[in-house]
């Protein structure tokens, strides 16, 4: 099983859409690797620099509501995957994006707005999050200290991650 976690990239906005995560002009790419340098390059967020070290070092994204809305493009999770990001934590996801993450064997973790607020209190370039996949816990560590939160994902989503994705799951079963 792969491990989940890493440095945190905080994206302090709701309704970040998949056009912002990967613009349509890169949808002509047939390899996932080619998306690497274009991840969130058009993101509209004050003071945000998509080419900074915070972005290239990240392993986890913490953001607000309705993350991944808009287009169904799975290029969005792929852009994260090739950049070493395999967990997104938000107070809500658009349905297709959420399913795409689990279908790729990655984690889209939905927590309450108040948990998101608490995670944002740790905002710092050095902040890290570790996921205890077995026990549904996430641990955040920063200058401020350590905190642990429980989260919930469905049995199905958990099974997809364990199987390595929906193709593997479906192929074994249907």
């Amino acid at each position: 099983m792969k491990t989940f976690g890493g440095k945190v990239l905080f994206l302090d906005r709701s309704d970040i859409n998949t056009d912002e995560i990967i613009p349509a002009k890169y949808l002509t790419e047939i390899s996932k690797e080619a998306l690497k340098t274009h991840m969130i390059e058009d993101l509209k967020l004050e003071g945000f620099n998509p080419f900074s070290k915070d972005v290239s070092d990240a392993g986890v994204i913490v953001t607000r509501a309705n993350f991944g809305c808009g287009s169904s493009r799975e290029h969005a999770p792929w852009a994260f995957e090739v950049n070493g990001i395999n967990v997104v934590i938000a107070s809500g996801f658009a349905r297709i994006f959420r399913q795409n993450m689990f279908n790729c064997g990655m984690l889209a973790i939905e927590v309450t707005e108040s948990v998101i607020d608490k995670l944002f209190e740790h905002k710092d370039p050095k902040t890290g999050i570790k996921i205890d996949f077995q026990n549904n816990k996430l641990m955040i560590t920063s200058k401020k200290g350590k905190e642990t939160f429980d989260y919930h994902i469905s049995e199905f989503d958990k099974a997809l991650v364990k199987a390595g994705g929906w193709v593997e799951f479906a192929d074994a079963r249907y």
């Binding site: 309704d15 809305c69 493009r73 658009a94 994705g165």
Partner: protein, 432 residues
């Protein structure tokens, strides 16, 4: 027990429930286009599983960038084309016969009430207009759909919207759905199906119903859906006439795909359209919507009329009514993309293509084109487009560009004036 339409479709198509709350459905139609499918095809090949579950149930089209604009898009088209040939997918629409997926597939009679439909495209919700469960999915879901003919869903809840009142002249389905998205917000229908009811929907053409359902995803909805009725039967009749004795028999059969009276909705919204104004978006989210009176006079550089939202014959007719015998503003570029070859031909036969050209519009072949900023009218940074499409995301039609979503009527009169304009000011008492 009373059930919603979606619950009935889920029940009829349930293949497996691997975990409580997760429903794996048999899929009746898997639709493919050249942007999201090639990666699925390549992945199937890499896994040694280059197969399709049923070539009859797979429909494919090259629509997003066509004719190809560069080596990459040519290659995407080629992967889809070769695959369709290899697997004997007869319903494959290549250049010369191709059009925007959500316009051409219904037009060919592929969607029926009670069907389950998936596609690697978020606006698949459009097909709910026929009383189907139609959902956009990502490439992995599409891949499994192609291989196994199944897809997994959390059973969605249903939001019921009753649309009644007297629709003012100059106000259309597009305005209604923009106003609904404003009310629901961009996440208000996440994991929900939106059912459209009421007299206004009953009196709508299939085209207008598709416009409504098309933008359900803009409120986060899994699908939009209308109840099948006489209008649905009439639209589908050329494709189903051999299956039923007469239209009455077809209607009787379609009626099983309706929500029961007294079924359980997550939410019911009553909407009165009497006195409603045309609607315009102002920001970078489709729920940022204003009455046109607050937006009039906003300068615009380009007009785009087309897409799976408003590129159908009805839409072109509406726009042409305003453009007939007139010229667009010298400061405006007008682009119109009839959504399918059939629409193009019919518009041509009715003299609509000529009206557009005489007015100064560029008429393109059927394609998604400028809608997603890949070709045929990409904006320069700082430019503004009034567009009949469905997304105003930052950069959607070109990096640094701004999009105002409008109805075909608003788009047409805005083209004439060079700034956002209320179509009601251009309306004669009755259009001829």
């Amino acid at each position: 027990m009373t059930m919603t339409l979606t619950e009935k479709i889920f029940k009829a198509h349930l293949k497996d429930e691997p975990f409580p709350g997760t429903k794996v459905l048999d899929i009746d139609v898997v639709m493919c286009h050249e942007i999201t499918t090639p990666v699925a095809i390549n992945d199937l090949i890499a896994r040694g599983k280059d197969r399709v579950f049923d070539p009859e149930k797979i429909k494919a089209v090259i629509d997003h960038v066509t004719p190809a604009k560069d080596t990459e898009t040519a290659q995407q088209g080629k992967i889809l084309r070769d695959w369709a040939r290899r697997h004997n997918i007869k319903d494959f629409f290549d250049i010369g016969k191709n059009g925007v997926c959500h316009a051409i597939f219904p037009e060919k009679g592929f969607i029926r009430p009670g069907y389950t439909v998936i596609m690697g495209d978020s606006h698949t919700c459009t097909h709910g207009a026929f009383g189907a469960f139609a959902a956009g999915v990502g490439t992995t879901d599409l891949e499994v759909g192609i291989l196994k003919g199944v897809c997994a869903f959390r059973e969605p809840k249903t939001i019921c919207i009753n649309i009644n009142g007297k629709l003012p002249e100059g106000v259309y389905a597009k305005d209604i759905i923009l106003k609904i998205i404003k009310e629901l917000t961009v996440k208000g229908a996440t994991d929900c199906v939106i059912e459209f009811h009421g007299d206004i929907v009953k009196n709508m053409s299939m085209e207008s119903r598709m416009t409504l359902c098309n933008m359900a995803i803009e409120a986060g909805g899994t699908s939009g859906v209308c109840m099948p009725d006489e209008t649905t039967v009439d639209y589908l009749w050329p494709f189903i006439s051999s299956e039923y004795k007469n239209k009455k028999a077809a209607l009787e059969d379609f009626k099983k795909w309706k929500s029961d009276k007294g079924c359980e909705y997550m939410k019911v919204i009553d909407m009165d359209v009497t006195g409603m104004e045309p609607q315009v978006t102002f920001g970078y989210k489709p729920d940022e919507v204003k009455n046109i009176s607050e937006m009039e006079g906003t300068p615009v550089d380009q007009i785009y009329i087309g897409s799976c939202t408003n590129g159908r014959l009805e839409d072109l007719r509406i726009a042409a009514q305003f453009l007939k015998g007139k010229k667009i503003s010298p400061n405006i570029r007008g682009v119109v993309s009839p959504a399918t070859p059939k629409i193009f031909r019919e518009a041509d036969a009715e003299g609509i293509i000529k009206i557009f050209m005489d007015a100064g519009f560029c008429v393109t072949n059927p394609t998604c084109g400028a809608c997603l900023g890949m070709s045929n009218g990409v904006l320069a940074p700082g430019e503004v487009c009034a567009s009949t499409t469905n997304r105003n995301f930052n950069g959607r039609m070109g990096k640094g560009g701004m999009v105002h979503l409008v109805s075909p009527a608003v788009a047409a009169v805005t083209a004439l004036e060079g700034k956002i304009t209320d179509p009601r000011k251009h309306m004669k008492k009755k259009f001829k």
